[in-house]
Symmetry: C2
Subunit: 646 residues, 2 copies
């Protein structure tokens, strides 16, 4: 065990989710989204792509380059799903997908979906994403192995990884490059953890550290491509290398820049390497980039990557609401990064962001019925607002040309159990502990110093403020139960077996450590008061000045036209007006909605004119706010998170 | 004289501008901007482009396709300038530019700047803009003839136009197409007016009416290009033909759509054709499109084309402030369209919009020193806001890759005199009249029924509310002096020779008609009260809800960081708080600035965090607003037109 991390996640296989909030969503992913994704992949020829020899085909169009990795993500998600719920048809589809993929694997382990560019191996690392795809396929293989116990896919991907180990690096005859789209880094660490083969970790560390080293690899690569008259996609040519975080060595990077998914996959891989090697310098970089993302470039929904230009991070505090990109994949990747940093530091700051993204900007990407998706997750939308690539911001899409997001949400939700708990082993500096990061009803079974401990969470979180935790153990055991006190919560209260515990005595870095000799049936009740909060943004965020967002518990709320009529922008929320939270079983499958008295500018007296002297009075208006993560599940219309204050 | 128009503009040559507002700006254009533009064109090889035979060159890059027409616009602007102010050097440069251009003219009259595509005449009308360029060159030739009295350039462009007359149309063997970028239509009407040759008007009418007729020309053109393996630029391929207003016949177009400059040049040409032919159906279309633009798609600054996507009109009421495109050229084109409609209808609605665009969204495109330019004219800008094509929104640029705007502003300002006055001849339905559309100090000399009438305007408009008009005539003459009462003004007052006139008795369609037997020395004093107005936008404009703009007279004001400190978005203007207008001679060359008491959210207590429960109180803050047209002439920083109200 290295010194590089404080805690270890309890694996998804050991966690059962049985609550009213997440369990139905996970079930929808399993029964609706995953079959749908498979069928679309089938229809789009994604499964066949691996077997095509483009040379032999004289017509037809191969699947678009960027499908790379999407089948891997689907296999990963489906593998989690079948491990938790037996499903023969899905198991067969997984096997068919794996076989389709592996039929395209070359003798030496090389595997790449796109037949058009397969001949020039690794000649265009900046644009072709061969290693990005390999990373997703490796992640899929690890998940597949863990889910099924079958090793053929994992072995195949080890051969692929071994080929990379042989071909990439600083040695004689090796390619001293790295991929334009990070992903391989975190995948290799995951493969190392699954196999114990240190060479995979070392290659991950190489990819992390070589990135952005002078002289830059990509300009030289482009020159060579042009010399050899090989195709380039033109997309990144001449662009700032910051788009793929290759503008300078990662340890010198101070600010999160460029394509947000790439950035957060890279940072996740960096955190992984640091966790395994105890590399303090790399960890310091991760902390700095974490702060750049979450203290200066993140929406209140946990959405990141605010600009469509390059699907990228914008400048500090540039967080426009209507044109927010906040790609679902980027928000998923923020969960990955947060989860990794949390294991290293055991600080609730990371879990707070993980929760914010999960409950808001990630979940918003998936329709309640599991059949439609958001790629971008704006915080304000209007049916007449700008149409991007044919998509109206107020309507979920059935699929995307670049369909990266749907399987990304799917794999996160089918493995959600893995994000809830961690354990720590006793060392000189820390205690034996079982951590609860997220409040999700269900059970976890974990080994603590060889003893099987089961923890049951009963809660109607995020709707209700009470979490009951019951412990099951064969014999008493001394350990700390570490419960996260969410950053959004003031006035949390704790009881152990009916006795109140003074929170300030046991709080460290956002966790309440209840250390005692725990016994069978011990019961902890955590109360997290959830008043409706008006949230304001830092004055540096110019898009939100004069506005408030409504939040209750971890959920950010929004106004929708279907509940409030059109012209949402004309509503204002008087300071101090009471806002009532009430459970509405008929609404969106049952939600706590917020209602209250607001004001609306009267729209009277306007003839066919655009401007006039300011003369419109305000009238009382009732508002109803619903959780942002559930917007656009009814009639399409306007939506707004940040509402005018007064 | 046709029935198609109510009034005729008094030509720019007959108008002298001698005021404190426009005269210095026009002088800067003449002495700084025009020489600068010439030198940049020279440096960029624009003058040589016409003479290049690309076949013979084996290296080098031709000037970018889109420079087409820019040299024509420069010649046009410079011609106006030298006619009003003798300038031997500029006259020599004009002649050199004309000769450079004409050296590239083919035997049969064909003229086209871009050597790369010259061989395939008119094969790619959608993308190559050959007729767009011809239109600007024709406009230049007419202006050059009127300014210099020399006819060689005009004759050359008549040969060019004659070639088009021969080659385009519905006859046997003619090309039944039209240009992707309208401009030729209005240019041909202008050539018709200068030469009296009706075939030019007829070709203009053909181009107008053929546009968008089924079956569409452009898809067939593309097919033919592909069949012949000729180059396409790829920019418009597969795009909606609405981008160039060729999606349906113009008479069926209900809504202003697509590229805003193309649209407004087209509508201007349509208005011209209608004015000359009395075509009532075409005029009805122009009115409908006018309303679409000005009642539903125009910024308070007169900026139009709100989206950068295709430099186009967005949906009704989609008028975002920070991402506003509102290209300077589009705002100039709105002046063109408004001026044409005004001559047809003699309704102040058109002059109001013309004034709004001129004093705000057009003038904002040109720095006070004449050396830097805005291409886009946002209504809110932040130094950390999104960077577009390398340009920060808060800083004017020295030049653009597509440098269409600088010469467009230049030609409008050097011919500004032509927009101020009109006359009407007596007919069965209307009286002999001299119209004043804009209040600009100076003199005009016009013939009214053969008598020379001079009108002197003395005014410090737009800073001061009084306009004194003195008439000079040899002998008394019965006619109406028609003075525009601006739409922004309430409580205008009129005196003739010291005697008050009841405005309601003489007001028709926004003009006060003072009909009498005018004599030498008669004096009219018009008072246009200019209180500071808070303007609100139609509630349908969601970007402006909860906000007010400040306007005084025709000028829209804005807040700049240099006067108000950073975080402008955190300022709010309490309803009813007094706003004081005062002349500040030291500011921006002397302006009336607005000052008043506002409130600012306190920025205290924020640690390194993005969001917190709403708790910031407001503090009193003084604000200073300056005319929008003069922003970004001092230290770069934030700017905002629409300010939070309360």
């Amino acid at each position: 065990m290295s010194e590089g991390r404080a805690i270890w996640p309890v694996a998804w296989r050991q966690v059962e989710i049985a609550d009213g909030f997440w369990a139905p969503r996970c079930e929808t992913v399993r029964t609706v989204t995953l079959p749908l994704e498979y069928e679309i992949n089938q229809r789009n020829g994604v499964l066949e792509a691996y077997q095509w020899d483009w040379q032999e085909r004289d017509q037809g169009t191969p699947p678009w380059r960027i499908i790379l990795g999407d089948l891997g993500k689907w296999i990963e998600a489906a593998s989690y799903a079948i491990a938790l719920h037996h499903d023969a048809q899905m198991a067969a589809r997984i096997e068919h997908a794996v076989q389709s993929m592996l039929r395209g694997q070359k003798e030496d382990g090389y595997l790449y979906a796109n037949p058009l560019y397969r001949e020039q191996r690794w000649a265009n690392l900046q644009e072709y994403s061969e290693l990005y795809e390999a990373g997703h396929d490796i992640e899929a293989a690890v998940a597949h192995f863990q889910a099924t116990g079958q090793s053929h896919f994992l072995e195949a991907m080890c051969r692929c990884a071994d080929l990379l180990v042989a071909r990439f690096g600083r040695g004689e005859g090796q390619i001293r490059g790295y991929d334009g789209h990070p992903e391989i880094e975190l995948a290799l660490v995951r493969l190392y953890r699954a196999t114990g083969e240190r060479r995979y970790l070392e290659l991950a560390a190489y990819f992390v550290d070589e990135r952005g080293q002078p002289p830059l690899y990509f300009p030289a690569e482009l020159q060579e491509l042009q010399r050899r008259n090989l195709p380039t996609l033109g997309w990144y040519r001449g662009r700032d290398y910051a788009l793929c975080q290759a503008h300078k060595p990662v340890r010198e990077q101070e600010e999160a820049v460029g394509h947000a998914v790439r950035a957060l996959y890279l940072y996740s891989g960096m955190a992984d390497v640091s966790a395994e090697t105890g590399d303090a310098g790399l960890l310091a970089t991760c902390r700095r980039l974490w702060q750049s993302v979450t203290h200066r470039k993140m929406y209140v929904t946990g959405g990141v990557g605010s600009t469509a230009q390059g699907e990228a991070f914008a400048a500090d505090f540039d967080l426009p609401n209507e044109t927010a990109y906040a790609e679902t994949c980027a928000n998923v990747a923020l969960v990955f990064f947060a989860h990794r940093m949390l294991q290293i530091e055991a600080d609730s700051e990371y879990a707070d962001v993980m929760e914010r993204a999960l409950y808001n900007g990630v979940l918003s990407g998936l329709a309640l019925d599991g059949r439609r998706f958001f790629y971008a997750n704006p915080l304000s939308a209007h049916p007449r607002g700008e149409v991007r690539e044919g998509h109206v911001a107020t309507q979920r899409q059935e699929w995307f040309r670049c369909a990266c997001c749907p399987p990304n949400v799917a794999r996160l939700l089918t493995s959600l159990g893995g994000y809830i708990y961690s354990t720590s082993a006793p060392t000189a500096t820390q205690r034996l502990a079982l951590y609860v990061h997220l409040y999700v009803g269900g059970r976890v079974t974990s080994d603590l110093l060889g003893q099987r401990v089961t923890l049951c969470q009963e809660t109607r979180y995020p709707w209700k403020e009470t979490v009951s935790i019951t412990l099951e153990l064969k014999s008493p055991l001394q350990f700390a139960l570490a419960l996260r006190i969410p950053g959004w919560c003031r006035g949390a209260a704790l009881c152990v077996n009916g006795e109140s515990v003074r929170l300030q005595d046991c709080l460290r870095r956002g966790y309440a450590y209840l250390e005692r000799r725990w016994q069978q049936g011990d019961r902890v009740v955590l109360t997290l008061p959830m008043p409706v909060e008006r949230v304001e943004a830092n004055p540096a965020v110019w898009a939100d000045c004069g506005r408030v967002a409504l939040q209750r518990g971890p959920l950010v709320y929004c106004l929708e036209e279907v509940d409030n009529g059109p012209a949402l922008a004309d509503l204002r929320l008087p300071c101090g007006a009471p806002l009532l939270a009430s459970y509405r079983p008929e609404l969106l499958g049952g939600v706590v909605a917020l209602s209250g008295a607001a004001q609306r500018r009267t729209a009277a007296g306007w003839r066919d004119q655009l401007y006039r002297p300011d003369s419109s009075p305000f009238q009382p208006a009732d508002i109803l706010a619903v959780p942002y993560c559930l917007w656009a599940n009814r009639e399409p219309g306007e939506m707004q998170v940040w509402v005018q204050g007064s």
